[in-house]
């Protein structure tokens, strides 16, 4: 047996003193909140000022490229993780929003990378989670293998929960190979929806209402062939980078982006975005103006409140934050 698998075995129950120390810091009483890179600090509402502010532990614990998994503590920056992985030709589905954005922050907020069509969703990237509970205990959910249906899916529940059910301490993440070739293309005439359908698997399709950008990744000859097939939709030219994205993030049904075509008044009637860059195929949209509050049905709201009650009966974890509010 390789030393790699032996070391994984030892991790099924956490014996990491760093995690134990983090759990001690969290303790079992009083409001407490975790500070990551503060990239998305306002998401879910302001933190109760009475909360003690803590940082999650840092460090890449174990990286096994041939298993395509990496175990990393939650306070590690995504930038550090991706630098380490790139040395072995790999990356993850985590967005790298700034140099200080943390792995724990990314999962806690649950926003996807712009290239989610190729890299997969962030919620599918999490294989195992270790978090500190409201009682100050280290809890493990999921496991280190890429496929696992052993028990209830705590990892999925933690993604996007804004740290309101548990405070992320360490995760095992699925990694992906970095494709051999990558190109950004731009067209001022192409219909973005037709462009998306003209290729098999674009990594990103962006559209600001008039200009379309596409990122294609894969084997070199395939990227060239896909680039050529886009000619049927319109003239594309290679560019260095995608456009800058407006600051407000929207999540819409992918088909809803079609309603952004047309005149400004049409658009306003549908979605009051201001200037926007939409991600065709995902329904994500980056706009000047914020997305109106999205309704959560009373039944789902009650179910979510019950979940919170079961995991954090005194409401001490990230108090003030509510998953699902802008």
């Amino acid at each position: 047996m390789s030393s790699n698998t032996a070391s994984l075995m030892a991790t099924l129950t956490s014996t990491d003193p760093v995690l134990a120390a983090f759990a001690d810091q969290v303790g079992s009483e009083g409001p407490v909140a975790i500070v990551g890179g503060q990239t998305r600090w306002s998401t879910g509402g302001p933190i109760d000022p009475a909360a003690r502010l803590l940082h999650a532990p840092t460090g890449i614990v174990e990286y096994i490229p041939e298993e395509m998994i990496v175990r990393v503590r939650a306070g590690t920056t995504v930038a550090e993780l991706h630098t380490e992985l790139a040395d072995r030709g790999q990356r993850t589905a985590l967005p790298q929003r700034s140099d200080t954005s943390t792995v724990g922050g990314a999962f806690t907020v649950g926003e996807n990378d712009l290239a989610m069509l190729r890299r997969g969703s962030i919620r599918s990237a999490l294989l195992q989670v270790r978090y500190v509970s409201a009682e100050g205990r280290v809890i493990t959910g999921g496991g280190p293998t890429v496929k696992n249906v052993t028990g209830f899916d705590l990892p999925r529940l933690m993604v996007g929960a804004l740290g309101t059910l548990g405070l992320l301490a360490e995760v095992i993440i699925r990694t992906n190979p970095i494709p051999a070739a990558s190109v950004w293309l731009r067209s001022d005439v192409a219909d973005p929806f037709r462009a998306r359908d003209a290729v098999l698997a674009p990594s990103v399709v962006l559209w600001d209402g008039s200009t379309t950008w596409i990122q294609l990744e894969g084997h070199g000859p395939d990227v060239e062939a896909e680039t050529a097939s886009l000619a049927a939709v319109g003239s594309f030219t290679a560019v260095d980078a995608p456009p800058a994205l407006p600051g407000e993030r929207w999540s819409l049904e992918p088909a809803a982006l079609r309603s952004l075509a047309g005149t400004n008044s049409d658009r306003l009637a549908n979605h009051d975005t201001g200037a926007f860059v939409a991600s065709v195929g995902t329904g994500l949209l980056f706009a000047e103006r914020p997305q109106p509050s999205r309704a959560i049905s009373p039944v789902v709201a009650a179910l979510s409140a019950q979940m919170k009650q079961n995991f954090d009966p005194t409401g001490r974890l990230n108090p003030g934050r509510i998953a699902g509010t802008n």
Binding site: T5, E66, E111, G143, K147, A201, H219, P221, E226, L303
Partner: protein
């Protein structure tokens, strides 16, 4: 509900006391065949009012006992809710009822250029609702991911009788990911009544390779080396010699019966990439001792190779009347070692074992072959099964890759999780089902499960009259 959709006769109740697993001990109460969400709500409310539990059921192909009724519950058979409601190409989803059969959905979508990616071996009969309940896998989940990655939204009737829409068609639905919590919950959180499944574009090019090896270890090492080379094939399946022989006798797919193991590898995507990756897999195979590398030349040849793999379990019937199919996952690099241990375990218990498995995921499916009429054989089968689980966990693996926990492995959960971990799983469960009325007695070990399990289990057979 119409009389013909509520059954309470002994024969039918006896039939639905089982699923495809070796487990029994279940006693079914009345069996309902609802045709609408409203009917499922009524069933839930009636069950709630009378303090009874409910067990949802699809095609009954589960192998972990997840659908066997414990404590004379109402069995809610979802097979009559089998409509494909809408194909929404723009949103890349299809809305389906849970009784739709997996392969029927893919057949319906294929002419439109899409398919449903999870393809369990039972896909000719298993239902989408069952796939959701078990977070099902299949050979092509290596590249495409398991069911959870392909479910956008689920309409669920909660144990309270209320209806909740979990998830959404957008990429980042507001609030907690209750959809993610529901998928794979084995019927313990409520009953799915409508599901938005993701549409996966059919790949324009596919290459299927058959590699032969003189040892199972060489095949397993090839699988590890392919992943290590940064190639993620659509599928990588290994069959050992015993099962290859059985399959070849059954479907005559042209499998080599003299090889100790065969690896079926498939890559799909764009024209250049599939050739680059297929060549690389062939080379990696030869470097790891492949005695033959064969590329399927025609669609017919390709289909036949897959038919062989997918009917492997049917082929067993000619060898022995009974089999017990295990399901564990190990790190890919540990495949060869754990397989050697599995052969040794079977030898020690004087059992025949065959291995056919999703090698690319490290998902093992040891198949213990036996004749249940042989005195004492079941004890040996269960003892060997326990040792296989122990060997898998010791290699850094997990209890189940796709079959679920059901009643089969609930008592092994404490080997993988601490008491605190299991307590948190129970908290998730209780948020949906505080009284533990949905499929009680499954997944969590008895000590961590619902308080009323023991009472439910002791309900006498005749309680429903």
């Amino acid at each position: 509900m119409a009389d013909d959709r509520v059954r309470n006769d002994g024969a039918e109740r006896s039939l639905l006391s089982h699923d495809a697993s070796v487990f029994d001990g279940g006693v079914s109460g009345p069996i309902c065949f609802p045709t609408s969400t409203a009917e499922v709500q009524s069933i839930m409310r009636i069950a709630m009012k009378h303090g009874r539990s409910v067990v949802p059921r699809g095609a009954g192909t589960g192998l972990a006992g997840g659908a066997i009724p414990l404590g004379a519950p109402i069995v809610v058979a979802m097979t009559k809710m089998n409509a494909i409601l809408e194909v929404d190409i723009d949103n890349r989803v299809a809305w389906v009822e849970p009784g739709v059969i997996n392969l029927d959905l893919t057949k319906y979508l294929t002419p439109k250029g899409f398919h449903f990616a999870p393809d369990p071996s039972s896909q000719q009969v298993c239902t989408i609702g069952g796939n959701v309940a078990n977070n099902s896998g299949g050979p092509h989940c290596l590249a495409y991911g398991v069911t959870n990655a392909h479910i956008a939204a689920i309409e669920v009737v909660l144990p309270s009788g209320e209806v909740a829409m979990l998830g959404g068609l957008d990429a980042e639905p507001a609030g907690l990911d209750l959809r993610g919590a529901f998928v794979g919950s084995e019927g313990t959180l409520g009953i799915a009544t409508r599901v938005a499944v993701a549409l996966t574009k059919n790949p324009p090019h596919v290459r299927t390779l058959l590699l032969s090896f003189a040892s199972v270890r060489d095949a397993a090492n090839t699988v590890s080396a392919v992943i290590a080379a940064g190639i993620v094939p659509a599928a990588m399946e290994v069959m050992d010699q015993r099962i290859t022989e059985a399959v070849e006798n059954y479907v005559h797919a042209g499998y080599p019966t003299d090889a100790a193991a065969v690896l079926l590898a498939e890559v799909d995507g764009l024209a250049a990439g599939v050739d680059i990756d297929a060549d690389a897999i062939g080379e990696i195979g030869r470097a790891n001792g492949a005695t033959e590398v064969r590329l399927a030349q025609t669609e017919e040849e390709r289909a036949l190779l897959w038919k062989g793999r997918k009917t492997a379990f049917g082929a067993i019937a000619q060898i022995a009347p009974d089999y017990y199919l295990h399901d564990t996952v190990v790190p890919r690099s540990a495949l060869a070692d754990v397989l050697e241990q599995i052969y040794a375990i079977a030898d020690r218990h004087e059992l025949l074992v065959m291995n056919v498995f999703h090698a690319g995921d490290g998902n093992l499916h040891p198949l213990l072959i036996f004749d249940a009429r042989e005195p004492g054989v079941l004890e040996r089968v269960h003892a060997a099964g326990g040792e296989i689980i122990t060997a898998s966990l010791a290699a850094g693996g997990v209890l189940s890759g796709e079959h679920g926990i059901g009643v089969e492995k609930q008592d092994y959960m404490e080997r993988l999780f601490t008491s605190d971990d299991l307590d948190h799983q129970a908290r998730l469960r209780r948020a949906f089902d505080p009284q533990c009325r949905a499929n009680p007695g499954k997944v969590l070990p008895t000590g961590h499960s619902c308080a009323d399990i023991q009472a439910l289990r002791s309900v006498p057979t005749g309680v429903w009259g």
